[in-house]
């Protein structure tokens, strides 16, 4: 089953009254499998937030169709099964986290909502502040409360727009751990994040959006292509000439050695020869392209 199915989505904002006009979505086609974690990345103004808002019926597309969890985004039953954390979440400052989550529980029809609220607040580390007014919270605390709000009612589809923005590194790890738990529960997680490493680590599949179109989409392995470069590290004191003779090239700005091949046999043969000559291998990893490099490539190719 597909959690999100978008086909031929177009959206152009009119430049009317203080709003910057322009085409935000230019024929987006995207399918996200249920039970997976999907990351959408792109430069500022690429159309990430507009796409998310279209998925949730906050923005109406000019053209195209979208289905989430098999239903239409505007259907109440579909929304009951969807949780959302906007990029910029404003909450009623005079309320407490408990009353804010209670309101969400009422709308989502959560029955055992006191248990649910207690669980979600302790999950994001806000249980001690459950009775404090939201206006006294720091940016990170508000963000964590936003995450709790998105997860309240255990929705099947969780859409998070910059979920860890403003959260400290330990908090980020916590959020990732929580999202891992939600994924294990079977929820689909759709993330839009500027933190590429985080997206790379957590998401099963990644989509790159640029100028309102999905330019690339796939798993990290698919996006990075076949491994044809290897990065090896040898202990200091190893015979560099011997290593070089096996086909390794020393990188100028690091102590790493690069071996270019798509054949594992060739790689192992070269390593065996180097080690037989006394070189001590201390590390080996495929020299994959980083997500930011791929993003830059996509954006650069378009310019």
């Amino acid at each position: 089953m597909k959690a999100i199915e978008a086909s031929g989505l177009y959206k152009t904002y009119s430049g009317f009254f203080r709003r910057k006009g322009g085409r935000a979505l230019d024929g987006v086609d995207l399918k996200v499998d249920a039970g997976t974690a999907f990351g959408l990345i792109g430069l500022n103004g690429a159309g990430k937030t507009t796409f998310i808002k279209t998925v949730l019926d906050v923005v109406k597309p000019d053209k195209g169709s979208i289905r989430i969890l098999g239903g239409r985004p505007e259907d109440i039953q579909t929304r009951m099964r969807t949780g959302y954390l906007p990029e910029r979440l404003e909450m009623p400052g005079a309320w407490t986290p408990r009353s804010f989550l209670r309101s969400i529980c009422r709308f989502r029809g959560v029955r055992d909502f006191e248990d649910q609220i207690r669980f979600r607040l302790s999950q994001v580390g806000l249980a001690p502040e459950a009775g404090h007014r939201i206006r006294t919270f720091s940016k990170g605390m508000k963000r964590r409360l936003g995450v709790a709000a998105a997860l309240t009612g255990s929705p099947e589809l969780i859409v998070l727009d910059e979920p860890t923005d403003g959260i400290d590194p330990i908090g980020r790890l916590e959020v990732r751990r929580i999202l891992e738990q939600e994924k294990k529960r079977g929820a689909t997680i759709f993330i839009n994040s500027h933190l590429l490493t985080e997206t790379e680590r957590f998401c099963d599949r990644i989509g790159i959006i640029h100028n309102g179109r999905i330019k690339r989409e796939g798993s990290m392995k698919e996006l990075c292509g076949d491994v044809d470069r290897w990065r090896a590290a040898f202990e200091k004191g190893s015979d560099e000439e011997l290593i070089r003779k096996q086909g390794f090239e020393k990188e100028t700005d690091s102590d790493d050695w690069i071996f270019v091949t798509s054949s594992l046999e060739d790689l192992n043969r070269a390593l065996d020869s180097a080690r037989a000559g006394g070189a001590l291998l201390s590390g080996l990893r495929p020299d994959l392209k980083q997500l930011d490099e791929i993003l830059a490539e996509v954006a650069g190719g378009e310019e």
């Binding site: 949730l56 906050v58 923005v59 109406k60 959302y84 906007p86 404003e90």
Partner: protein, 278 residues
């Protein structure tokens, strides 16, 4: 219906935390306390033995208490009616823009609630809030005067209800404007404009004479026709107990007109809200 009540409840919950609401509640309470402790009225057998308001001798003969209190009730009715409209418009001007503000509305719209339910909930919440304020003031006034004079009347409470009906006509356009502009200043200005136009519409027959017969007068009459006749409703509200013969049909028409006007504006707001991107 359930979701409308959730939206209304959330609005009320947020409203009670606002300083202006607290300030108005304190103001009403102070006014009631002033009446309770400082209004000097002595009543004997259903009449005012000594006709004094705030200690001032009225210098009139002994009269029936309802006749004697007529100016007081009329003034209180007028005060209640127009305070409801003006203070109501002022205080509630930032409710809808606040709830529709960026960062807030995106999240609310993602919840299982239809857009029309959300807006109707906001509308109902505001009306309930204004109704509670009016009932507190009117109820308090009735009880204090009732205890002091032995004269019990439901007129202030009915005046309060009529004021809420009038406010319906003011808040509908305010909410519709808030949908399009998300500005409390513009929303408040819309309320002020409706009150002004409503006052003008109440005198449209008299004012029409100021225009030359023909196109000018016709345009004036067409332009002022849709607006609720606020002054007419307030006149009814202030004279409920004293009108020699209340024209009930006219009163019902006026109430229906105000509610219809507010509802029509709400529908315009809903139609705009339904198509709007946030």
């Amino acid at each position: 219906m359930k979701r409308i009540s959730f939206a209304a409840f959330d609005l009320l919950k947020e409203a009670v935390a606002r300083k202006w609401i607290v300030a108005v509640s304190v103001l009403i309470t102070l006014m009631l306390l002033t009446l309770a402790f400082f209004l000097r009225l002595d009543v004997v057998d259903g009449a005012l033995a000594a006709s004094r308001f705030f200690g001032r001798d009225m210098g009139s003969d002994i009269r029936a208490v309802d006749i004697e209190l007529k100016p007081l009730f009329q003034a209180a009715g007028g005060l209640l009616f127009y305070s409801c409209l003006i203070l109501g418009a002022f205080i509630t001007a930032d409710f809808a823009p606040g709830l529709l503000s960026p960062g807030r509305i995106e999240h609310t719209l993602s919840l299982p609630v239809k857009r029309w339910e959300l807006l109707t909930g906001m509308f109902s919440g505001v009306l309930i809030l204004v109704l509670l304020g009016c009932m507190y003031a009117a109820g308090g006034f009735t009880v204090i005067l009732g205890i002091k004079t032995g004269y019990w009347t439901s007129a202030p409470v009915v005046t309060g209800l009529l004021a809420v009906a009038a406010f319906c006509a003011v808040y509908g356009p305010m909410l519709a404007v808030a949908v399009f502009f998300r500005s409390s200043a513009v929303s408040g200005a819309a309320g002020g404009l409706i009150i002004s136009l409503g006052i003008m519409a109440s005198y449209r027959a008299e004012m029409a004479g100021m225009f030359q017969p023909g196109t000018g007068r016709w345009i004036f009459e067409i332009l002022t026709a849709p607006f609720p006749r606020i002054v007419k409703l307030s006149t009814f509200a202030m004279n409920l107990d004293y009108a020699v013969s209340t024209d009930w049909l006219e009163l019902v028409r006026l109430i229906a007109g105000h509610i219809l006007f507010g509802s029509a504006a709400l529908i315009v707001g809903i139609l705009g809200f339904d198509k709007k991107d946030f």
